[in-house]
């Protein structure tokens, strides 16, 4: 794995390039990792994956704990590891223990021996040696060390313990680690600036290829987050990539970019898709629709539409007019509305394709803004236009 920062904007925000052995082209950052279930997208069929923008869509997040349900490390090794098992030879696979959908850290059950997760197999205690056995058999391009993630409301004592454990487990994981695959040291520290700094300092001393920043999206407020993020990124070496878990919404991604995060592991698309939503917010930064407000837009949130709404029953237009994704090129809102009504899985597949395509487009606009040195301006405009949509809709409700 190779990573290099290519451009800066407004201090901490950066644009970079990530080279992974299996990916045919280098991946520009800030970038999004796509969520998977046992290595494949939740809904998108593997032969439809190539319809997504390339190489942006080639980074997948994989949770090793998913495979505890029916696939032994021995079998995975005999198939030749993840890339072979999934038939995704030109994709970059990042193994991370926490998956915000299925494998949620359960801090009360975590103890000095291992991290506890709520999984589809029940509550499991994962020790570093077990975790590393999984990682070795999977052979991902990069992997995060095992962490003790705690929510924002735990006691100071518990938070401090989580940092101590995470650092200790990181050393154990590195010692047990496979020869291939880039190690990302885990940084935790909850809502305490001092603990975040302490953890970052410890991790920065280790010989790792990048950093996985955990413990976010577990109860901290949007307002306290920037300071916590900066406490970490100010200490971490600039030249190594930073991957974060738990920042999903566009506003949260922008917070992360502003603090110097390069890779985002987000379940936003998954939740949108399950809810029957399609992303529609404009990707050119400024909301041109502000002046086109119509009566029919009352209650509409210009960032996304809910395809279950009866207003789409006869709507023969694509989800987003200018979108070049497979769904928008082939199908209409009316058809997706129908599929949702009759409970056909094709609805979720089409929505996941569109939402992924759209969100990857959002990341592209972020990268362009950073490279042009205009990130803060881009961020301000984006946030303002979303606030304006909601206030206009509210005023006319």
């Amino acid at each position: 794995m190779k990573f290099a920062v290519k451009a800066w904007s407004n201090g901490r925000a950066r644009a970079g390039v990530l080279h992974l052995g299996s990916c045919p082209s280098p991946i520009e950052t800030p970038s999004l990792l796509l969520s998977t279930r046992k290595g494949l997208p939740v809904f998108i069929s593997p032969d439809l994956l190539p319809s997504l923008p390339s190489p942006d869509s080639h980074l997948l997040q994989v949770c090793p704990l998913h495979f505890l349900e029916g696939l032994s490390p021995k079998t995975i090794s005999s198939v030749g590891g993840l890339h072979n098992m999934l038939g995704l030879h030109d994709y970059g696979l990042a193994a991370v223990a926490r998956d915000s959908i299925n494998c949620l850290p359960h801090c009360d059950s975590t103890n000095k021996l291992g991290a506890s997760f709520e999984t589809p197999c029940g509550r499991l205690l994962i020790k570093p040696v077990e975790y590393m056995e999984m990682i070795s058999s999977l052979g991902p391009n990069l992997w995060a060390t095992l962490a003790d993630e705690v929510p924002a409301w735990v006691s100071d004592k518990r938070n401090k313990t989580s940092v101590d454990r995470t650092v200790r487990w990181m050393d154990e994981c590195i010692a047990l680690g496979p020869a291939g695959g880039a190690v990302f040291g885990a940084v935790v520290g909850g809502s305490s600036i001092e603990e975040r700094r302490r953890c970052a300092q410890e991790v920065a001393r280790r010989n790792v290829s990048g950093y996985w920043i955990g413990g976010f999206g577990l109860g901290e407020s949007m307002d306290e987050r920037p300071a916590l993020l900066n406490a970490v990124t100010d200490i971490l070496p600039e030249e190594k990539p930073r991957l974060i878990c738990g920042l999903g919404l566009p506003e949260e991604v922008l917070q992360g970019v502003a603090s110097g995060i390069d890779l985002f592991d987000s379940v936003y698309i998954y939740h949108l898709t399950l809810g029957g939503f399609a992303l529609t917010f404009p990707l050119d930064g400024i909301d041109k629709k502000k002046s086109d407000f119509q009566l029919s837009d009352i209650g509409v949130d210009h960032t996304k539409i809910n395809l279950r709404a009866t207003v789409y029953r006869k709507d023969a237009s694509p989800l987003v007019k200018s979108c070049s994704c497979y769904t928008c090129q082939n199908h209409t809102k009316a058809y997706i509305n129908h599929l949702l009504n009759v409970h056909e899985m094709l609805a979720q597949i089409l929505l996941e394709i569109h939402n992924t395509h759209h969100y990857l487009g959002f990341f592209r606009t972020i990268r362009e803004a950073v490279k042009a040195g205009k990130f803060e301006q881009f961020r301000r405009q984006f946030l303002e236009s979303r606030r304006d949509c909601l206030s206009v809709a509210a005023a006319n409700a």
Binding site: R37, K38, L40, P41, V42, F43, S45, P46, D47, L48, F67, E69, G70, L71, S72, K74, T75, S78, V79, M85, L86, G87, P120, R313, K314, A316, Y326, N330, H331, T332, A334, Y335, N337, H338, L339, N341, V342, E344, M345, L346, Q348, I349, L350
Partner: protein, 398 residues
């Protein structure tokens, strides 16, 4: 008439043909998958070679309604499917929901499962709905009875089917764009079946279906009805055996001279973790699959078999939607390949060899079921190389 049916090859009763429909030129024998198939997109269906898809009129009439489909330009446009479509009459639900249905000369009354309101499906209404949906082939509303029922009801249903076909023909407003197929009923009674065939043939329809089967009758009864009907139906028009089915059944019916099939079996069985393979079925849920690193079918060229091991599919199956998706894809690919193989083997004059290879794979110990042997005899196909010696001859020796 809005179709052309050209026979390209034969072996005794079996035929391979080209069926030209308004939206697509098809090769028969062919299998038609049903509906939006457990998550497969239209481009994937095209890729695996799907030629016609069956749309269920009953469900479409409830949601999103045939009027809406019509308003949006027909079902082809609504789902963006460039190839052929077939809609059934809505009548099969009569059999499946019989405890809710009341059948009279007028039509069939259902209770709508959506809002409990009474729904009356007349032959006229069924055809009008199908005219609005716009499929290449539409089915007449027939009075279909389970083959496990005996008595005067079967005769009543057969005659009513003939009276209803005239009402369907009269109501059909798009005969130059949509082909109305009649459905032969009559239960397991050869006399009734014969009357029905002759009655339908008199109406000179574009194609004919053999209905009322695939509902619990014995295999022995099943093949005999198919054989009788295919012998009596016109040579130069397509024959569609409704609700069939298992690969073995399709091979037998094709040998007897049928051309088109539909069934939910391939996708339904995928949902339960079962894959179709030349040997029969493979149950991916089975514990033994957890370590099996082979593909589902080493001889299959589909993307599932080219990329995934049984072990991986095992860990997905019944737990993740992707498992059903991948198995549905493989199973439909299998059915499409079976269709292609049937067509090609007949055209290339090696149909008997194909049948023998098929049976040998499925019954490696030679235990081909008796009904298949009997049917193949009538079809004039020598499968003695696939069958183990009869037990009676062993008794003679001892």
């Amino acid at each position: 008439m809005a179709l052309r049916f050209e026979i390209l090859g034969r072996f005794n009763r079996a035929r391979a043909a080209q069926l030209t429909l308004p939206h697509f030129v098809c090769q028969t024998p062919l299998f038609m998958p049903v509906g939006t198939i457990k998550g497969l997109a239209t481009s994937q269906l095209e890729e695996i070679g799907c030629q016609i898809i069956l749309g269920n009129t009953y469900h479409l009439a409830l949601r999103p309604t045939s009027e809406l489909i019509d308003e949006l330009g027909g079902l082809h446009k609504f789902m963006n499917w460039p190839r052929a479509l077939l809609t059934d009459s809505g009548g099969f639900q009569m059999v499946s929901l019989l405890h809710l249905a009341d059948i009279t000369e007028k039509g069939v009354t259902f209770q709508s499962p959506v809002d409990g309101k009474p729904m009356l499906l007349t032959p006229e209404e069924s055809i009008q709905i199908q005219n609005r949906i716009g499929a290449d082939i539409i089915m007449a509303l027939d009075d279909v009875v389970r083959t496990t029922i005996t008595g005067p009801r079967i005769e009543e249903a057969m005659y009513r089917t003939l009276r209803w076909i005239d009402r369907c023909i009269a109501a059909h407003s798009r005969p130059h764009e949509q082909n109305l197929f009649g459905i032969v009923q009559g239960g397991l009674d050869p006399v009734l079946r014969d009357i029905c065939v002759r009655g339908l043939v008199d109406r000179n329809l574009p194609g004919y279906a053999i209905g009322g089967l695939a509902g619990g009758e014995s295999k022995d009864s099943f093949w005999r009805v198919v054989a009788q009907c295919t012998a009596a139906l016109p040579e130069d028009k397509p024959r569609y055996v409704m609700g069939v089915g298992y690969p073995l059944d399709i091979v037998v019916c094709s040998a007897l001279g049928a051309d088109m099939y539909d069934c939910v079996y391939p996708t339904r069985t995928a949902r339960f973790g079962t894959a179709l393979v030349p040997e029969g079925v493979l149950k991916l849920k089975h514990k033994a699959m957890a370590d099996d690193t082979r593909p589902i079918d080493p001889t299959c060229a589909c993307m599932v078999c080219k990329n995934y091991s049984r072990a991986y599919i095992h860990c997905l199956v019944t737990k993740d939607a992707m498992g059903s998706q991948l198995l549905s894809y493989h199973n439909l690919y299998y059915m499409m390949k079976l269709s292609r193989d049937l067509h090609t083997s007949i055209v290339e004059e090696r149909f008997p060899e194909f049948v023998c290879t098929f049976l040998l794979k499925m019954f490696p110990e030679g235990n081909v079921p008796e009904w298949v042997c009997n049917a193949m005899e009538v079809a004039g196909i020598d499968i003695s190389s696939c069958c183990a010696p009869f037990s009676s001859s062993q008794d003679l020796e001892s």
